[in-house]
């Protein structure tokens, strides 16, 4: 993967993702493009310069180099653009995860236990109501399928790199203070081996060792997401 040549006219570099190629190869009709979305993954809006002329405020943003398209569908599009009819919003809602980080114990949190996570649509100022276009009906939960799973749910896909993706419907009958929705799920630890800790942490690290990973929860309608750090602590006898 490199940067795209931005010295001339605007052009578009398009590729099938690994998921797209796999579905195309299946030849079972599962490759059917029906919708799209835009994203601004490379853009850092902090380069917006308010202290200059109107025509120059976004000059540094427009100079941003763009990466070539990635075939890894997990990282290829991370920051979708959002449609909200009101063009004068000053604040945006946010996804809030509770707890904001999770510590799980190997074995103990595999068969039973685990941790309940709630991700809800909130707003920064209590007087603001969530725009109706971005009230989420379903949530996408992405996690490392080799390490974690969502209890009682089946992943709708597992990528070649081992990312499991679940679709969790919004909890029925629950409305946040902002008029949004929330999803709840229980995350647990897969059955791990000593070798997994050897590879991911190091064979010479003192026990109990800890594997760090991240769960990403994305509202399917809003495109907004919350990232939840997860620590998995190795099981030790005694």
């Amino acid at each position: 993967m490199g940067f795209q040549d931005n010295s001339g006219e605007i052009f578009i570099d398009a590729v099938l993702t690994d998921e797209g190629r796999e579905r195309l190869a299946r030849n079972d009709g599962s490759f059917a493009i029906v919708r799209f979305r835009f994203a601004d993954d490379e853009i850092d809006y902090r380069f917006w310069n308010e202290l200059t002329g109107s025509d120059s405020k976004d000059r540094k943003i427009l100079d941003t180099p763009i990466l070539e398209a990635s075939t890894n569908e997990i990282v290829a599009l991370r920051s979708p653009l959002i449609t909200i009819r009101n063009a004068r919003l000053q604040f945006l809602p946010q996804m809030v995860a509770k707890p904001s980080s999770v510590t799980l114990r190997e074995q103990t949190d595999s068969v039973g236990g685990g941790t309940d996570i709630t991700v809800s649509q909130e707003i920064a100022r209590s007087q603001t109501i969530l725009p109706s276009e971005i009230i989420d009906v379903n949530y996408s939960v992405e996690l490392d399928n080799d390490l974690l799973f969502v209890s009682g749910e089946t992943p709708i896909s597992i990528t070649p790199f081992g990312t499991g993706r679940y679709i969790i419907p919004a909890a029925s009958g629950i409305q946040t203070a902002a008029g949004g929705t929330e999803c709840k799920f229980n995350v647990r630890v897969q059955t791990l081996t000593t070798e997994a800790f050897d590879v991911l942490v190091g064979a010479n690290v003192a026990q109990p060792r800890t594997i760090n990973t991240t769960i990403i929860v994305t509202g399917q309608q809003s495109g907004m997401n919350a990232q939840i750090p997860v620590s998995i602590v190795e099981f030790t006898q005694g």
């Binding site: 601004d40 109107s54 290829a76 979708p80 063009a87």
Partner: protein, 337 residues
Amino acid sequence: MSFKTFDLAQDVASVVSSINEVVSISGSIFAFDSNVKRFTNISSASALYPLGGYFQTVYDSTPTSPTSTPLFDVTYGYATGSTHNLPYNASSSQNEKIKVYRMMASSLLGDPDALFTINNVPVSECFFVMIKRGIQKDEIKKGATSIIYFPTAGTTVTASDAGAVTNFRQTVGGDYAPLITSSSIEVGQVWYNAGVLVFEAPAVGEVSCKSWPSDLLWSGSMTVDDMQGKSTIDKIVDGLRLHIDRINIHNQTNLYSTIYFCRATNSEFNYSSNPSFVDSNKRILVTSGSNILQTRTYITTVGLYDANDNLLAVAKVNKPITKAPDSEVTLRVRLDY
């Protein structure tokens, strides 16, 4: 919302387009044995020599080099009715030559017993130059093939498929056209879809053969007449490589494309889930304390999804494109198959 559903009648189009490359293969590449790979004759289980294989493959450099590329295969065959089809000696490879001709006739003419017709005459002996798929791509472009060959020592003649764009013929083996010299003499054929050049070889004693006369010294002290009956395929095509100066083709890649028109109206996609779009208080940066009161975003990526929100294709623009409530954007994403 972050998704927009395509109107399949308005936003999706299928098109076919072609890409051509000029391929010019000089005799300086294929005349020398060092760029040629030979094969063991499987039926006789012989070593590389003396019986030789069914064909040779010409590379653009030493075949054992990891950077070399195979360009074309070259072989020879005759029909069972050929005047050369006689058991001269143990290495005359009668069965192999017949097998090659029947294989080519079956593949191109649709009948292993059929004969190629060149200059309106059935021809029982032919040379075959088979362009490799990696060079030919999907097919050879019509009207752009020419061969420069040596009909006699020291002279060259050019035969081409000029006019084939409109005058090509069709049969079960695909489209083909004659290779004609400037004297309007047909010396062979080019089969576009198969990527095969077929050249007439002289029958026994056929000094009037339009491509190469039977008494032409072919390799060493032997004439092309002698070699067709008495030599292995390997040795016959050794001579052929010495009697061709250049092969010119244009290859063709046929692209079947679907174009997706991704349209954003003025009121769509003006906010972002990008973490940097807002400050720590979730205040939108581009309008925060600004005299620009309207939101705006910068498009760098287009994702194409199925009904279950699986990302099937992704496209990137080479420069950020501004999207604001006072502008509309249509991005044309083309997927080639």
